[in-house]
């Protein structure tokens, strides 16, 4: 698979290959190079290295069918991983010709001349999507149940329609695990495991266990038994209030349209009315009988799965119909069901062209429900769902506050990261701010944690969030709690801070309790920033001890250097470790430091392409030196999430298109959303199995 198998991250460029020359011919131009440089290890040797035999492709047609293989080759060659050290290098001309051929081959239409849009495996609603879907379908003012993916913030500041995030705001934090408003206090459904290097909404990794069906039925039953249901669930009113079969049927049609995300056929309406009829036959009143039908709807596969066309449509590629596009849009931007306006746009045929799709996306970005792009997409993209489990050592005193240290910094660190994402999203800034921004949000506690109280004092004073001197004991604690509810936008005093790489949340998630882990941090950077996660280690080695430098007399880096000399390790670690070294300037809870124990921090590094840096600011500058690469990597995360599938080599053209269009408009966030929703793979689906599966 293209995205995960490639190590040559840092040198990867999204810019198109030199054009002008005629497309190279496989047999005439490419095979001689492969023969000279590759077949020795990856040929008909009986046991080709890595199981990769390139000599088996004799004709251009045979070669073109193996896109995934060539995607790997492209990435390795482009990054300079292949040919490996110690073997003759490709000449500049050989490399250019080979890359040009690879690029042309990978971007060529793959399905009998038709461009492959990919196929998302039948997706079940995730727990978050289920909650939001039921909430919006019934018109609830709260969540359906409490679930861990819902973070403990009320977010009164979150107003995407305004186009600004206030300079001073209150995130409305609730103690984690504390009570959040929900209709059903005890109910719940099983959570979702994330895909390796991916999101929880991927149909191919989702499962449906025997427990699960009963849970859906149980939740539906509790929902429909809730007191004052008609008032709590206003959108259910017409159905609940109907009496007599004709009236029930009339009310059911619009409800089914919204629940099943498309107008039901007459047969579907009748099928759901059977539950009503059966209950009536047993003497139930209208309302109880209707409830039976609603229970069946909320437990049905048509509701629980996002259904898109399969083999029944003429292939190999089908354009999604308006209702399917509406569902993709709403689950991408809101993690919820299409609203009435989207369904109307689908009905009117407005979603069959990119302009109509873009118009809806623009509207949806201004809706509060777009918070899920931050709380679901961004959180999983940045692996911050793991933050709550991080347990820094108790010696990091500023991480633990209050009685028995129960007031941890988790929620504050999470808020800082979410606020950066939301600022870029709502204010439609450049996504390069994700890498390096000169601004950020802090509350007094976080400012103190970062050792920046003095710098930000004026900002807090202006916001009325300074703690008056002379308070002690409970008074002081109360005043502190009140002050900490206030967040202000600040300008970081030096460029070391700013962007996700240097957010305390990220730096904590990628650390051990007592010390940093350049390897975890480096792997995080490769996956989140470059969208090129490193492979699993292939050899077992003793991990470094988890003790801090103060007790071992060696910095983590010094310990790691011994590892890096092992030729079994150095290949990958040459890419993983340098970003981690840059972030050594931060301790395990995200505070800047110059020493580890008594030893000085060495935050220098050399990238595989030879560029050097010293410290986080300089490292971030190396990323921004190739903006198209970061744009394409980010587009990849977004496109994968938007479709609920792993990206494949045939998605390359779409990613290039999205990144190129965004570049024309200063890499503004909205350009990526627009790029994704108007992209070819977002609006089409493959209807036949891929060639490789035949």
């Amino acid at each position: 698979m293209f995205i995960r198998s490639v190590l040559g991250t840092l040198a990867l460029s999204a810019s198109p290959l030199p054009s002008g020359a005629a497309d190279p011919d496989f047999v005439r131009d490419v095979v001689p190079t492969l023969k000279a440089h590759c077949y020795g290890c990856h040929g008909n040797t009986g046991k080709p290295k890595g199981g990769l035999n390139l000599a088996k492709f004799a004709t251009p047609a045979e070669a073109a069918r193996a896109g995934a293989v060539w995607a790997d080759v492209l990435a390795s060659v482009r990054a300079g991983d292949m040919p490996p050290d110690g073997k003759p290098k490709l000449t500049a001309a050989e490399k250019q010709t080979l890359l040009a051929w690879l690029d042309a081959t990978l971007t060529a239409p793959g399905l009998d001349g038709v461009r492959d849009p990919g196929k998302s495996t039948l997706r079940r609603l995730t727990r978050t999507e289920y909650n939001n879907t039921v909430r919006d379908l019934l018109g609830l003012s709260t969540d359906v149940f409490m679930f861990p993916e819902r973070f403990p913030y009320k977010k009164p500041y979150f107003d995407p329609a305004s186009g600004v995030v206030p300079e001073k705001l209150n995130v409305g934090a609730i103690e984690y695990g504390g009570k959040v408003p929900a209709l059903l206090k005890q109910a719940g459904i099983p959570g979702d495991a994330r895909a390796e290097h991916g999101f929880t909404n991927r149909g191919d990794v989702q499962n449906f266990g025997p427990l699960q069906f009963e849970k859906y039925v149980e939740v539906a039953d509790q929902l429909l038994s809730a007191p004052n249901l008609a008032a709590t669930a206003p959108k259910l009113g017409p159905v609940l209030g109907a009496s007599g079969r004709p009236a029930v049927k009339a009310a059911l049609v619009p409800f089914l349209t919204r629940a099943l995300r498309r107008p039901p056929t007459a047969a579907v309406v009748e099928a759901y009315l059977e539950a009503y009829d059966a209950a009536k036959k047993q003497g139930a009143d209208d309302r109880s009988a209707v409830r039976e039908t609603l229970r069946a709807v909320l437990s049905s596969p048509e509701f629980l799965f996002l259904v898109e066309p399969g083999e029944s449509r003429a292939g190999p590629v089908a354009k999604l119909d308006g209702y399917e596009v509406a569902a993709r849009l709403s689950y991408f931007l809101w993690a919820s069901t299409p609203d009435d306006e989207l369904l109307a746009a689908a009905k009117a045929g407005h979603l069959s062209d990119p302009a109509g799709v873009e118009k809806q996306a623009r509207r949806m970005r201004k809706d509060r429900r777009v918070r899920e792009l931050s709380e679901t997409f961004a959180v999983q993209w940045l692996r911050l769902n793991e933050l709550w489990a991080a347990q820094p050592d108790k010696s990091f005193k500023s991480f633990y506050g209050g009685p028995q240290g129960k007031g941890t910094l988790h929620a504050d660190l999470m808020a800082e990261a979410l606020l950066l994402f939301e600022t870029v999203m709502i204010e439609d800034r450049s996504i390069m701010d994700f890498v390096a921004a000169d601004y950020g949000y802090v509350n007094p506690r976080l400012a103190a944690h970062y050792g920046l109280t003095k710098e930000f004092e004026p900002a807090f004073a202006a916001a009325g969030a300074d703690v008056k001197l002379g308070l002690t004991g409970q008074e002081l604690q109360k005043a502190q709690t009140a002050a900490n509810a206030t967040w202000v936008r600040v300008k970081w005093p030096d460029p070391s801070r700013g962007g996700f790489l240097t957010c305390g949340a990220v730096l904590t998630v990628t650390s051990l309790p007592q010390r940093t882990s350049p390897v975890k941090r480096g792997a995080w950077v490769l996956e989140s920033v470059f969208n090129r996660p490193p492979p699993e280690p292939t050899v077992a080695v003793e991990p470094l001890d988890s003790k801090p430098a103060s007790t071992t007399g060696k910095t983590v880096r010094q310990k790691l250097e011994a590892h890096r000399k092992d030729p079994n390790c150095s290949g990958c670690h040459a890419k993983i470790d340098p970003p981690g070294f840059a972030l050594e300037a931060f301790d395990p809870v995200g505070r800047l430091r110059t020493t580890d124990g008594k030893l000085p921090i060495d935050a220098r590094g050399t990238l595989p392409d030879g560029r050097t840096f010293d410290g986080p600011a300089a490292f971030k500058a190396t990323i921004l030196a190739d903006k198209p690469a970061f744009a394409k990597a980010f587009a990849g995360h977004l496109l994968s999430y938007a479709q609920g599938r792993k990206l494949e080599h045939f998605d390359e053209p779409a990613l290039n298109e999205i990144a190129a269009a965004a570049a024309q408009d200063g890499y503004r966030f909205s350009r990526f959303v627009t790029g994704v929703v108007t992209s070819y793979p977002f609006r089409h689906t493959r209807t036949t199995p891929p060639e490789s599966a035949k």
Binding site: K119, T121, L122, R124, P148, A193, R194, A195, D204, V205, Q206, N207, F208, G209, P210, L211, Q212, F213, E214, V217, V219, A220, D221, Q222, A267, A271, Y272, E274, A275, A278, A279, E292, R295, A296, S299, S300, P301, E302, L304, F305, V307, P309, G310, E311, S312, N385, W388, A389, Q391, P513, E536, P537, T538, A540, E542, P543, D545, S546, T687, P689
Partner: protein
């Protein structure tokens, strides 16, 4: 996490007195079976992650007169009921992480020719093979439990699922004792019976419009609907069995040993009332890196995985202590099973109760010489009371194949097995 309002011990004392009903009496609905019929066979598998300290695990002496090293010492009371096996191996299949594969493929180690889930050689796992054979008549085909009540699912399912319905299709674990209790003794909540027809019809409509890959996903849903259907029918019948014999737990006990033993109690209870015949318990996920409190063993939380990669000799001692702690919980299970009279013997006589790990030596991620202990006679099919060390390459799946045979499943092979392990079988099944 809350502890239970009533102490587990007190509940169990009550249990001993009032619900000492053998399986036939407790399950009046099953009285259609002749009262003279032999009690059913049951199987339970307990998984420990990250391997064990080998020198304190494997006995020195083979045969019936084997010794119990420190880690196995808690089994001294039931030494005659257990078999300690050494020298059984798994083969790592490149392409996945070492830890992810050792747990997820412990009971399912497919040869390369069988379908795979990405790089994972997971196919239908042993417990699910047994459930298909044993579970058709019970309220629940099988129980899958984990003693990891950590709120965050930070690892993928490969680290916490040893039970698989098929490639990539994990059974999913229940971690909350309260939910397990409700599953065993609660009426199916929300009256699913009445929606079954409608949703099955919906699935049928959908199915015709889906390609092969999507159909497989939809079939998971349909399997779940069918499992519910069966559970509804059996639960209706079992309602006559009266009130649940123990109070509903409030949640996972804070004390680690109590938590594990409560889950084991629920398994024993489910077995004795014949509500299920197959169970798995994952003590902790593989490669779990969040430090755990082992109450009564250490003063501070311990990171089991990190300890396996620490060269300091004190780490080895700690691993051995963790091993002994886990074995003590297993010994508790075996003793509980043995305490229940059933037919002319004990419940343990009808069981195979297995404990083991998918890694032998954690530091090197060694898949050879895996630790495994089997207790119980599986209705007279299994020989017990000895230690045997196998030489050369002997797949762990050979043992699993023998267990299948012991339970009356006459498969020619299982997973990557090469031959049954005859030593564990009595002459009745050889």
């Amino acid at each position: 996490m809350t502890s239970q309002p009533i102490s587990r011990r007190a509940a169990l004392r009550g249990l001993g007195a009032s619900v000492g009903l053998p399986w036939l009496e407790a399950m009046t609905p099953r009285a259609t079976a002749a009262p003279t019929a032999a009690p059913p066979k049951r199987a339970v598998f307990m998984y420990i992650p990250n391997g064990v300290q080998l020198d304190t695990w494997f006995p020195r002496k083979e045969g019936k007169d084997f010794d119990l090293p420190a880690s196995l010492e808690p089994l001294s009371k039931v030494k005659g009921d257990i078999t300690v096996l050494g020298g059984l191996d798994r083969t790592f299949v490149p392409g996945t992480g070492v830890h992810a594969q050792c747990g997820s493929c412990w009971l399912s180690s497919s040869p390369p020719s069988e379908p795979k889930d990405g790089g994972f050689p997971t196919n239908t796992s042993l417990d699910q093979m047994l459930a298909k054979h044993l579970g058709a008549d019970t309220q629940l085909p099988s129980l899958e439990l984990s003693c990891n009540d950590h709120p965050d699912t930070k690892e993928t399912k490969y680290f916490e699922s040893i039970s698989w319905y098929g490639p990539g299709y994990a059974a999913g674990v229940e971690k909350n004792p309260r939910a397990v209790f409700q599953r065993l003794f609660g009426k199916p909540k929300g009256n699913p019976a009445s929606v079954l027809d409608t949703v099955t019809g919906g699935a049928a409509r959908l199915r015709g419009n889906l390609g092969a890959g999507d159909r497989a996903k939809l079939d998971e849903y349909l399997d779940a609907v069918r499992a519910t259907e069966r559970r509804v029918q059996l639960a209706e019948k079992a309602a006559a069995a009266g009130k649940p014999p123990i109070p509903e737990p409030a949640g996972a006990p804070a004390d680690r040993g109590e938590y594990i033993r409560l889950m084991l109690d629920l398994i024993v209870l489910a077995f004795r009332q014949d509500r299920t015949r197959v169970a798995t318990l994952v003590v902790d996920p593989e490669r779990w890196d969040t430090p755990r409190v082992y109450h009564g063993v250490f003063d501070t939380p311990q990171n089991h995985h990190a300890l396996t990669h620490t060269k300091d000799p004190s780490a080895k001692d700690k691993i051995a202590q963790i091993d002994r702690f886990h074995v003590a919980q297993y010994a508790y299970l075996v003793e509980q099973l043995k305490a229940v009279r059933e037919g002319s013997g004990t419940l343990l006589d009808q069981c195979a109760a297995v404990i083991g790990s998918g890694i032998s030596e954690g530091n090197s991620h060694n898949y050879k010489d895996l630790p495994v202990v089997v207790a119980g006679k599986a209705g007279g099919a299994l020989a017990t009371g000895f230690h045997k060390k196998f030489a050369g390459e002997v797949p762990l799946a050979n043992l699993w194949l023998s267990l299948l045979h012991a339970f009356g499943v006459n498969a020619p092979r299982f997973a990557d097995s090469t031959a049954p392990v005859k030593d564990v079988l009595t002459s009745a099944v050889r």
